[in-house]
């Protein structure tokens, strides 16, 4: 999955998330066209309880391309991410870091995340504060460290006259502007 955030000179914004699902999708390659095919039907697997896929149906997704606009229209945050089920906690934490905890957008994206797993345990990135992990243990949480960080967020913020784009270093990202 890959995310692009754009804020243009006229104030218009786009938050777009695109995917072929798993790394290299279905791993099926069309040699005549050069196209790599998705394996998006795997996302229906969470429907196992209802057990039926209808032709034309779209599978559920963790994608959350989002745009935040202040009441006076002067401040904006264009944000979204990739990383499967890590998208939601990564975007939540980016927004919380930026709006509530006073981080600049780069620090908001960089900050190590926590997420929950299928059994309601917590998983944290390797760089997550060890003191906080110990305190969460004390509260009764089961906390594990993620083997790798697949969460990647791209964001553009505007506060005052400046636009601040940031592409996640977890994927060697680099933003641009003028």
């Amino acid at each position: 999955t890959s995310h692009v955030s754009v804020l243009a000179e006229d104030g218009s914004a786009v938050s777009a998330t695109s995917t072929i699902n798993y790394p290299f999708g279905a791993m099926v390659y069309s040699p005549q066209t050069g196209i790599i095919l998705n394996n998006e039907l795997a996302d229906f697997c969470m429907k196992q309880s209802s057990g039926r896929i209808s032709p034309g149906e779209m599978p559920p997704s963790s994608m959350t391309p989002s745009i935040l606009i202040s009441r006076d229209g002067q401040s904006k945050l264009v944000v979204g991410g990739s990383g499967g089920q890590l998208i939601i906690p990564a975007v939540v934490l980016t927004i919380a870091n930026k709006l509530w905890f006073g981080y600049d957008v780069d620090e908001a994206v960089k900050a190590p995340i926590l997420c929950t797993n299928g059994t309601n345990g917590i998983e944290v990135e390797k760089a997550f504060d060890k003191g906080v992990v110990a305190a969460l243990h004390q509260k009764g949480h089961t906390v594990k460290t993620m083997p790798w960080s697949l969460n990647v967020v791209q964001a553009v913020s505007k506060d005052g006259p400046c636009l601040f784009p940031y592409s996640d270093l977890r994927k060697n990202g680099q933003a641009s502007g003028y």
């Binding site: 692009v4 754009v6 790394p23 099926v28 057990g51 998208i87």
Partner: protein, 385 residues
């Protein structure tokens, strides 16, 4: 000897205008210097590589719209991060139009094909879900087409040109792609698939970071789509070649599936968050889940102080973790509305202040509640991406 009243007025006017012009120049200068990189005064693009962010920026500087820049950056990302996305996938756009103040969502996520296997879900727990039976009908290019039709300023072809120019002589495999190609969980699968044709050299070894990747077939497809539009992919020669190729691997995807693919244009979901309104993509995307979590968390009235000490950070992350656990219990609600038994009322309730308040009341100091506490017993544990 004094100046006449008229001359005095003229002089005052000239001085005033000069002062105003000076102030304006100073303001522009100060803004520019304050907005030095990584901040910018006019426009910005964040894609997942420098090259693709720059391509988006260049499109904006040529007079392109935010949508034009996004599409150009995405076409580039399909080439520089082919493990992540591409023309064979799907996309969801959330778009804010500054001239109308409206936000809309273009949902071009992939769809199940007409001949979808009735027992596919039985395969879910039988290992890594790769191979032709997991392919859904791609929506990517129809998504670009719809977005461009609504918001594009530059010609469609212009958006493809930078990537065609980049890919034509071949590209060096980026470090991130190299990491995926050599990953011990991925390589054994790759090794057995048709992707060998693309990512393995003549000696049978996987390409690594820095190796030259030639991809002439994709260059030709990009050229054809740039010239002929998205119809090339959905009902043109490219469609025929694609269906032929993947049929050899057992795919049931048909020309009718491609021809009949439609994008959905829908309203975003939104909530108020202090001074902000948050807009996100509705189901089957996870916007409602994101908004549910933010709605729960906003009631804790977090501030900078919430992260100022270890104990406050721990308390804050505890609340965030609990909100995420409650969100797990709600994910089953974000299915495709056209095929869902879950009514819109349930989704409205999910992002309501009253439901957020109800959930907040169930969050206490404990982090060891059983799954039933989070109403998540009905949710499968298979992740979706």
């Amino acid at each position: 000897m004094g100046l006449s009243r008229g001359k005095l007025c003229c002089l005052a006017l000239v001085v005033g205008l000069v002062a105003l012009a000076g102030a304006a120049v100073l303001a522009v200068f100060l803004t520019r210097s304050r907005c030095a990189p990584p901040r910018y005064p006019r426009a910005a693009v964040a894609a997942d590589t420098q090259t693709c962010s720059d391509i988006g920026r260049d499109i904006l500087q040529q007079g392109g719209s935010a949508v034009d820049a996004t599409i150009a950056a995405l076409i580039c990302s399909a080439v520089l991060n082919p493990q992540s996305m591409g023309l064979g996938g799907g996309i969801i756009f959330t778009i804010y139009n500054a001239s109308t103040g409206k936000v809309e969502v273009l949902n071009a996520r992939e769809r199940a094909p007409q001949k979808i296997s009735g027992n596919l879900l039985a395969e879910c727990n039988k290992g890594f879900p790769v191979g032709s039976r997991w392919i859904a009908v791609p929506g990517e290019l129809r998504g670009y087409e719809e977005a461009h039709k609504r918001y594009g300023k530059l010609p469609w072809k212009t958006l493809f040109e930078p990537t065609i120019k980049l890919l034509d002589p071949g590209i060096r495999i980026p470090e991130v792609v190299g990491r995926f190609l050599s990953h011990p969980m991925i390589q054994p699968h790759l090794n057995k698939t048709s992707l060998r044709k693309l990512f393995y050299n003549k000696q049978g070894a996987a390409l690594g970071a820095g190796d030259l990747l030639r991809w002439p077939a994709l260059v030709e497809t990009l050229r054809a789509v740039a010239e002929n539009g998205a119809d090339e992919f959905y009902q043109g020669t490219t469609a025929e070649k694609l269906v032929q190729d993947i049929a050899k691997e057992g795919s049931i995807l048909s020309l009718d599936d491609l021809r009949d693919y439609r994008v959905e244009v829908v309203s975003p979901v939104n909530i108020s968050l202090g001074e902000y309104t948050v807009y996100s993509a509705p189901r089957p995307a996870a916007g409602p889940i994101l908004l549910f979590i933010l709605n729960v968390l906003k009631g804790f009235n977090f501030t900078k102080d919430s992260m100022s000490t270890l104990s406050q950070s721990a308390e804050t992350y505890h609340y965030i973790a609990e909100a995420l656990k409650f969100a797990n219990g709600q994910r089953v609600k974000v299915d495709h509305p056209a095929f869902s038994q879950t009514g819109e009322g349930v989704l409205s309730q999910l992002i309501s202040d009253s439901f957020a308040s109800h959930v907040r009341q169930r969050i206490d100091e404990r982090g060891d509640h059983p799954a039933s506490h989070y109403d998540s017993a009905q949710v499968g544990t298979t992740p979706f991406g």
